[in-house]
């Protein structure tokens, strides 16, 4: 008696289904446990994704989402045609890329440097101090920046004064905004950012280093040929994640650092979304959502693209 292919598949899928049923019924309370988290994600993450359709509608406060008329891509077109579009896009990309170029390698350099520190105690002290700014809140960090860079009483201008230089209004000059934002981020984030790489460095097989030492390799050669290749996968993953968030980086801090004088350099997509959608007297929910959705979609596409490139080039990827 020959069992046909179809019959066998049917039998297989039946046992599979039976097993699935068994696994579910034996652990039914696990579903009960995860229910509340699922509800949370549904309401606070997926409901907004559903609600993002107002970007394609003319949503008004008095109406529900579904009652509002479809307007297609009108809001997107309005944003692309706006005289602010290119400036805002440029500011966003510039601040993010500058932040990435400066902020990405420094934690790696710091981690390697810490890894090769001559004394354990010194290493501990440097770690302790450099991790600390990570815990300073964004508001406090911005407060510190404003005080330290203050035109009259700021520390930096005080030091300049000692050398007879004129005070600089760091936050009033658009061309300096990028430096202020990026380097204060580096200041806050480099220690914390180095932890991941220190972990990766600690995971390097010591035999490789021993063999290299026997062969007469210097520390610099060992860093170049052993350590850096070993932390590459970690670096690539973090780079992919950062590129995926390129249109979202540093929003709260930039919002706080803004003032009318530096706005030409500091208005980014997210701050604009906030202003158009929530801060203005007549909130334009649909228009603002369209701008936000544009940023989300571009980010998502970037993430996928970079992930694919990384997979092809370095065999490291998020998924």
């Amino acid at each position: 008696m020959a069992v046909t292919h179809g019959e066998r598949r049917l039998a297989l899928s039946q046992t599979w289904r039976k097993q699935a049923k068994l696994r579910i019924s034996q652990n039914w309370d696990l579903y009960l446990i995860i229910l509340i988290p699922v509800i949370y994600f549904t309401i606070f993450h997926y409901a907004p994704m559903y609600g993002v359709q107002i970007a394609f509608r003319d949503f008004q406060v008095a109406r529900t989402i579904l009652e509002s008329e479809w307007v297609g891509l009108a809001h997107f077109r309005r944003f692309f045609d706006s005289f602010l579009f290119w400036r805002i896009l440029w500011n966003t990309v510039y601040l993010s890329l500058y932040g990435l170029v400066a902020g990405f390698p420094i934690p790696i350099i710091l981690a390697i440097s810490l890894h090769y520190a001559v004394s354990k105690r010194f290493k501990k002290v440097v770690q302790m101090i450099t991790y600390a700014p990570h815990f300073i809140s964004t508001v406090v960090l911005v407060g510190m920046i404003l005080q330290v860079l203050h035109l009259r009483i700021g520390l930096l201008n005080g030091v300049r004064g000692l050398f007879g230089a004129d005070p600089v209004n760091y936050l009033g000059r658009p061309e300096l905004f990028g430096h202020v934002h990026v380097w204060s981020d580096v200041w806050r984030g480099m220690g914390w950012g180095s932890i991941v790489y220190l972990a990766a460095l600690a995971g390097v097989d010591p035999q490789m280093h021993e063999a290299a030492i026997v062969d007469g390799a210097t520390k610099v050669q060992r860093i170049w040929h052993i350590d850096i290749p070993s932390i590459m996968p970690t670096a690539v993953i973090l780079l992919i994640l950062n590129v995926g968030r390129i249109l979202f980086l540093g929003f709260e801090k930039i919002l706080l650092l803004q003032n009318p004088l530096n706005l030409t350099a500091s208005e980014i997509i997210q701050t604009y979304v906030y202003k158009v959608g929530l801060q203005s007297a007549i909130p334009q929910y649909s228009y603002s959502s369209a701008i936000g959705l544009f940023a989300s979609l571009v980010s998502f596409a970037l993430l996928i693209a970079v992930n694919r490139i990384a997979k092809r080039v370095g065999e490291t990827s998020l998924w």
Binding site: V38, P48, G51, Y131, G143, M144, I153, L155, G292, L318
Partner: protein, 296 residues
């Protein structure tokens, strides 16, 4: 030959130590400056004479901070948000992570995807705001807690920890003895997960302590504002914390100077709780990052 290589390593060590020292100084100097300024006299601060150590030691800044009513309200509110919020966070994170850590949990990948997709795509600011408004959460204390009830990243590290450090055999044995999954979670898994609970509690608590944006968009009522909003008003939006109504010119200038010192003192007062526990718990934070790095 060997001597030459040793010399190159010596040069490397010198450069390396110099670099680390430079980094150390660059990070610590602004911190010392803020502390010093907060303990200096208003005149010294306003004339920019504080460069490293306190000048004309004074507690006037702190006195002005404590006399400023909103600081107290803000502190109390932030304490409430931090404690309640963290409890909610930890409970829900455990409830999300535990099923995901169990191999026999059918649909595990589906749930993991459901949670982690939100890391990469979101509806955005306005749609979330509209959801919160339609739930009637605007201008309620719950708006500071519920919308941020679970952090996906913390779910992932908690799940990874549970998978790595709680033996399957233990759970199987309990199952054979007829224990329910809920019982196992409470009596077996949670007691064995204390290290990771410590880590995520700290992550969540610091997040609540430092959060200002939810307050900015969801809260109107000044009596509900957290400390960070008070800080924002004084440090960034230039709200006067020292009464500036005119008395006479000299007194007014003195008060303006006082406002400047107050800013430094306020920074210290707001950061002290976090920075005080920081040295004690630093290794927990680092551990959290390590677990996260294991399986990103």
């Amino acid at each position: 030959m060997v001597g030459g290589e040793a010399r190159s390593d010596r040069i490397f060590n010198v450069i390396n130590t110099t670099f680390l020292t430079a980094v150390l100084l660059a990070v610590i100097y602004p911190l010392i400056f803020i502390v010093s300024a907060s303990f200096s006299s208003p005149e010294a601060v306003a004339s920019g004479r504080v460069l490293l150590w306190p000048v004309e030691l004074s507690l006037e800044g702190y006195r002005a901070v404590f006399a400023y009513e909103p600081v107290w309200t803000g502190y109390a509110n932030t304490l409430f948000y931090t404690v309640t919020g963290t409890v909610v966070n930890v409970v829900l994170t455990l409830m999300a992570a535990y099923p995901l850590s169990r191999k026999e949990f059918f649909g595990r990948n589906l749930f993991t995807f459901y949670f982690s997709f939100t890391l990469f795509f979101s509806g955005g600011l306005i749609p979330l705001y509209l959801v919160i408004r339609s739930l009637g959460l605007l201008n309620t204390r719950a708006a500071m807690i519920i919308p941020a009830a679970i952090g996906v990243w913390n779910v992932i590290i908690t799940r990874t920890f549970m998978q790595a450090s709680i033996p399957d055999a233990l759970i199987e044995a309990a199952r054979i003895d007829g224990a329910s999954n809920t019982y196992i979670l409470v009596r077996v898994v949670i007691p064995l997960s204390v290290p990771i609970i410590a880590v995520i509690s700290l992550f969540y608590a610091v997040g609540h302590w430092n959060a200002f944006f939810p307050a900015l968009i969801y809260l109107r009522d000044p009596s509900k504002q957290p400390l960070q909003m008070v800080l924002r008003n004084v440090l960034v939006a230039n709200e006067m914390a020292v009464d500036q109504t005119l008395i006479d010119l000299e007194e007014m200038q003195r008060r303006q100077f006082l406002q400047e010192v107050l800013r430094y003192s306020l920074i210290i007062v707001a950061s002290v709780p976090v920075l005080m526990i920081y040295p004690l718990v630093q290794r927990h934070f680092v551990r959290g990052i390590m677990i996260g790095a294991l399986k990103g």
